[in-house]
Amino acid sequence: MDARATHGSNADRGFVWPEEGLARFPDWVYTSDEIYAREVERIFHGACWNYVALEAEIPAPGDFKRSFAGPTPVVVARGADGAIAVFENRCAHRGAEFCRPYRGNAREFVCPYHQWTYDLGGVLVGVPFRRGVKGEGGMPADFRLEEHGVRRLKVTTRRGVVFASFAPGTEPLEDYLGPEILADFDATFDGRPLKILGYYRNTVPANWKMYHENLKDPYHATLLHSYLVTFGLLVAGNRSAMIVDAKGRHGTMASAKPDTLDVPEESRREMRAFHDNLALADPRILDYVREFNSPWSVTMQTIWPNMIVQRELNTLGTRQIVPQGPHRFAMVWTMFGFEGDSDEMTRHRLRQGNLMGPAGFLGLEDNEAMKFVQDGIAKARPSAAVIELGGSEEGTSPNLISEAAIRALYRHWRDVMGV
């Protein structure tokens, strides 16, 4: 991207917010290359915690995985001492992205181009022919290996979840998440060791923020996802909540599976999604095995800026958002269970996995819907989204029919972005 991308005043750039305030989101929030460049600089490369891995993916010394902090490729590796390091996947010499496989185990990382060698912490430990050959060539005498490792990120972990930040001063994770979010985070990551069941990867042809909006938007769940409604997993009026942290960055969409399918007539009228007389041949997919210390059977947590924690009944996973410009992002899904799950419990999680992911009964609908939105705003005359559900309230909302969580997020975003 060109250096100029972040120059010039907002007015010059046409970044003028509608007078209605947070009741309107202008298109350029989702379509501008410059806004995107600024997001990378101030958010993903700023004082935020990027989700990068689960410890269970790299249990042993030398285990590593390719990952991303925002759009930036990083390596997550476990050292001989068991400590986890996160560093840029970019050689300090000429910049090669040296770590190519999804994951593996290594004693050290050797860049293929000139074999500069890094230890499991990203520290430069070897430069071939550093002293030259027969005393000729090589690096200057004052070249210090320790000054030329790959750039390391600040790392923190909680309950086996690994986060990294480019900003040394980023606040502690617990403060960053806040108590409202921590509660459900800890309910899902309840201390049992995780067992990785596998991965999904997909791209979504939409702006990365739409994924946060989607999961701060309980309204859509009752309307887009006929499957949920038809088979009784969620109906407007369920016991549910949309919980937001104090800064409005993070969120938890929570609901409790009703004991019986009973859609109030009031709701049936509103929901075209509702189909009577449909039944599953194999309803095991809807079973909920109570295994968590939580009033909720479903919690979907959005952890700013790039993580989702999925606890959908018994199918569990993290999702990592990898932005790829204003019009596209990639999503990496890591599905897991717990060590000690019985075969049947594992199979139950796998069966229930049909709900989520890019082919999931719910997951595919969200991906399709987000594509529709980006298609709609990218080619239309300049306009703005209407965000008025729940009036002007911002933050935690007592009910599903509100966009208060989305408004709260954008108050924070505008503040950070200076627009």
């Binding site: 999804y102 990785i196 069941l197 596998g198 991965y199 999904y200 990867r201 997909n202 791209t203 979504v204 042809p205 887009l224 006929s226 499957y227 038809t230 999604a273 189909h275 449909l278 599953l280 041949a281 194999d282 997919i285 990639a330 599905m335 594992t346 199979r347 796998l350 069966r351 996995g353 049909n354 992911g357 890019p358 082919a359 009964f361 997951g363 595919l364 609908e365 991906n367 399709e368 819907a369 594509k371 529709f372």
Partner: protein, 169 residues
């Protein structure tokens, strides 16, 4: 490496007959999907069938997750039901092309076979894309004279899926 050529321990003539029969099975199976006859899809499987679609990265690592994961005819029919009745997705044209069919052997009355598949997707006003390229790892049973899938593992190379996969493979 001889077995790599015949690709089977079967009598070559029997293996060839099975290969040709399996090619006909694939052609009928793909036609049902390409013509949108999703309700016919479960009928290509035995009632105790296992069906899974997963990335080559998972398969190589021995990870069990499925993009689609069905145990038995009920789950297959429920998938077909959801696609027909509840799922929301943009209209699209799909083509499934199968080649490189190999019969690997016969074990406990089931035929083991592999094939290479391409899923070609075309959205409205968009170009045709290779939506998924992968291989079938199949186990066929013969029921009432014809072959049915007792197990189909669809292992795709296209690990990074373009947005969504709306039909089975």
């Amino acid at each position: 490496m001889r077995e790599d050529f015949a690709g089977t321990k079967l009598d070559p003539a029997e293996a060839r007959a099975l290969r040709l029969e399996i090619e006909e099975f694939h052609a009928a199976y793909c036609a049902a999907l390409d013509e949108g006859r999703i309700a016919d899809w479960p009928g290509f499987f035995t009632e105790d069938a296992v069906y899974r679609i997963t990335g080559r990265d998972n398969a190589d690592a021995g990870l069990p997750v499925g993009l689609i994961y069905c145990e038995g005819g009920g789950m297959l029919r429920d998938r077909a039901l959801a696609i027909e009745k509840t799922a929301m997705f943009a209209p699209r044209f799909l083509l499934h092309a199968v080649s490189n069919v190999r019969v690997l052997g016969l074990s406990e009355g089931t035929v083991e076979a592999q094939a290479t598949y391409l899923v070609l997707q075309t959205l409205v006003d968009e170009p045709t894309t290779i939506h998924q390229a992968g291989r079938y790892f199949d186990r066929f049973a013969r029921v009432a004279g014809r072959l049915l899938l007792r197990e189909r593992q669809c292992v795709y190379d296209t690990v990074l899926i373009d947005n969504s996969l709306v039909l089975p493979v």
